[in-house]
């Protein structure tokens, strides 16, 4: 007998169920490729358990997306104003269509990732191309279009794209309020299930507890709400928000995000391995870049890159031998400097300034810099209070209001110079920061 429903066992969500149409997506070549893309890039070199892949994360995002959908469209959970603002929400056939689109979009949201996920994306793709543009291309590919057309009723490719990559990556396409809310379900800053799944999954595999929070309670209290009740000239635009009872679990989610950024994603050893990987790829790839063509991208995974690293590391005549040796022989650069808040009051760009001075002193081959600030750190969402008022999460929760922004600015040095580098910096840090501040405006 033909099976119409299928199940995956999953360490985070226990069982992930899917139907035969969704199974076709899972069995497609671009999706199967995700079995060989590390979710956390080179983090397994710091946290040995973090070897999980984009494959299971994408299944988890699909599972959570429909859990959220079922809660926020449940008639008992609909705010009176929302029925007027989003008429689609009371029409059964529309809801069924969009639930299906949402699950497909969730499955496909990471299809375009390069080998090692984000590690090498910034400098190894041509200007204007990133993993989201490749994801869009793959969702539009012939193989996937055939799946969208075979579903009853057929799914519009553009609808899947909108929800899979969100408004930031679909320039020129206007989202209706309903579509904007649904895209928030997957990629939203506050409650996007992409983030919910990766925090839970990454903390589980990395073996750290920071990423855990009560996601069951959180999801049960999610609501589509007007941004306000309309007093004081406040907007009533619909957005994904929460009932007051879920405020603490949303605080826990945001704290989990901050801790995971600080402790895992921004770990300096992981960051320098990402740089060594990028150095290797720049030498190994033809013309130093990945092809922007989606069909070419899907031919390459972490497996091919790791095999090439191993080969280059064991043969000194191979191109990229040096960076491959650093990668496999644990000869990574060491942390020389990280931005200190006091330094920004002396020099607005202390990381850049120290990096430039260190490069002059030790040479361009011996110094590396990496800096990043968590995107979309603001977490302003509507909260439905017990007395019926709707207020901003930031006004309601002093925890959310005071949440720091996770950010780092690291300068690394070749291990051969680490002692000398630290002595040099100790003697000269203040002088470098002050003297170079005076030069910035003239640049």
């Amino acid at each position: 007998m033909t099976k119409h429903f299928h199940e995956f066992r999953d360490p985070i969500h226990v069982f992930i169920k899917l139907d035969s149409d969704e199974r076709k997506v899972v069995d497609s070549y671009p999706f199967q490729r995700l079995r060989n893309i590390h979710q956390l890039a080179t983090s397994y070199l710091v946290y040995p358990g973090a070897t999980h892949k984009r494959f299971e994360h994408s299944l988890g995002v699909m599972e959570l997306a429909s859990r959220v959908f079922d809660v926020i469209t449940n008639p008992r959970n609909l705010h009176e104003k929302i029925k007027d603002l989003i008429p689609e929400i009371t029409l059964d056939n529309k809801l069924q269509y969009w639930r299906r689109v949402l699950r497909m979009a969730a499955l496909c949201h990471d299809l375009g990732h390069l080998p090692f996920s984000h590690a090498a994306e910034d400098d190894l793709l041509p200007e204007g191309v990133d993993h989201e543009t490749i994801t869009v291309e793959l969702i539009r590919s012939e193989e996937m279009q055939q799946i969208w057309q075979s579903v009853t009723p057929p799914l519009r490719t553009d609808d899947i794209i909108k929800l899979a990559v969100g408004p930031n990556k679909t320039k020129g396409i206007v989202f209706s309020d309903w579509e904007a809310v649904l895209s928030e379900v997957i990629v939203g800053d506050a409650f996007g299930v992409d983030r919910i799944d990766y925090l839970l999954r990454d903390s589980y595999h990395a073996g750290v507890a920071y990423g855990r929070f009560d996601h069951f309670r959180l999801i049960d209290t999610l609501r589509i709400l007007p941004k306000s009740t309309g007093e004081d000239d406040d907007s009533i635009e619909p957005a994904l928000g929460i009932e007051e009872g879920g405020l603490h679990s949303s605080e826990a989610l945001l704290l989990a995000r901050y801790f995971m950024y600080s402790q895992v994603y921004f770990h300096p050893v992981r960051r320098i391995y990402d740089i060594h990987l990028k150095d290797f790829l720049m030498e190994w790839l033809p013309r130093g870049k990945f092809s922007p063509n989606a069909n070419k991208i899907v031919e390459i995974t972490d497996n091919e890159v790791l095999a090439a690293i191993s080969k280059a590391a064991n043969n000194s005549s191979k191109k990229a031998h040096e960076s491959a040796r650093r990668f496999v022989g644990r000869k990574h650069f060491r942390l020389l400097y990280q931005r200190h808040p006091d330094d920004t009051t002396i020099n607005p760009e202390p990381g850049k300034t120290i990096f430039e001075s260190a490069t002059s002193r030790f040479g361009v081959q011996s110094i590396r810099r990496d800096n990043y600030t968590q995107k979309s750190a603001s977490s302003d969402f509507p909260v439905l209070c017990n007395d019926g008022r709707i207020t901003s999460s930031i006004s309601k929760s002093s925890t959310i209001q005071r949440l720091p922004v996770a950010s780092f600015d690291y300068v690394f040095i070749n291990p051969e110079y680490v002692g000398e580098g630290h002595r040099w910096l100790k003697r000269n840090r203040l002088k470098i920061l002050i003297e170079n501040t005076n030069l910035i405006e003239e640049e």
Partner: protein, 184 residues
């Protein structure tokens, strides 16, 4: 313009909005920059899309996060009914000192927009920014009612009358900016 110079312009706008009595929430900053960049042609290079409360820039949101992280801006909120607010942070003095020229260059435009928007609520900012978006997207359409209808179609929670009123306000603001030679 990008990086630290652009941050100096953001800081300058936040200070101007504050001086004119605004609580200076993110929507004030977002919509002010949409007008500064798209109407007054201040070259901040933020990428705006039509999204939250009308035109919205994820780049600008990320820039605000970076400025919070390097303490050139602070983010705070007093308890209800006060709203979340941006203020200059501990490292703002050094940024201003070092990038005086960048902010000074656009002083007139920043002052014009800050004065105009500082006292407005989120809903009115949303209406005005959406009205400018529609006006710029439909350059040949001079009819206020027609553009008002487009605003309502994009944001159905904005009533037609409010939408038309916002179009008129944007036309008036554009005229005043031209009179003050802020648009060339």
């Amino acid at each position: 313009m990008e990086g630290i110079k652009r941050q100096a312009v953001v800081l300058s706008l936040v200070e101007s909005l504050k001086e004119h009595g605004s609580w200076c929430g993110e929507t004030h900053i977002q919509k002010s920059f949409f007008f500064l960049q798209e109407l007054l042609k201040v070259p901040t290079n933020f990428d705006f899309i039509f999204y939250k409360h009308g035109p919205f820039s994820f780049d600008l949101r990320d820039e605000l996060s970076i400025m919070r992280a390097n303490t050139t801006l602070e983010f705070s909120a007093k308890p209800y009914p006060y709203k979340p607010s941006y203020t200059p942070g501990a490292a703002s003095g050094k940024l201003k000192e070092v990038h005086k020229k960048s902010a000074e260059e656009f002083r007139g435009s920043i002052e014009f927009i800050a004065k105009e928007f500082s006292g407005k609520g989120v809903a009115e900012l949303e209406r005005l920014a959406t009205a400018l978006y529609v006006t710029l997207e439909n350059e040949k359409c001079k009819d206020t009612a027609e553009r008002g209808k487009l605003v309502h179609e994009l944001k159905p929670h904005i009533a037609i009358e409010q939408a038309v009123e916002s179009i008129k306000k944007v036309d008036d603001l554009t005229k005043r900016a031209k009179d003050e030679r802020l648009i060339h």
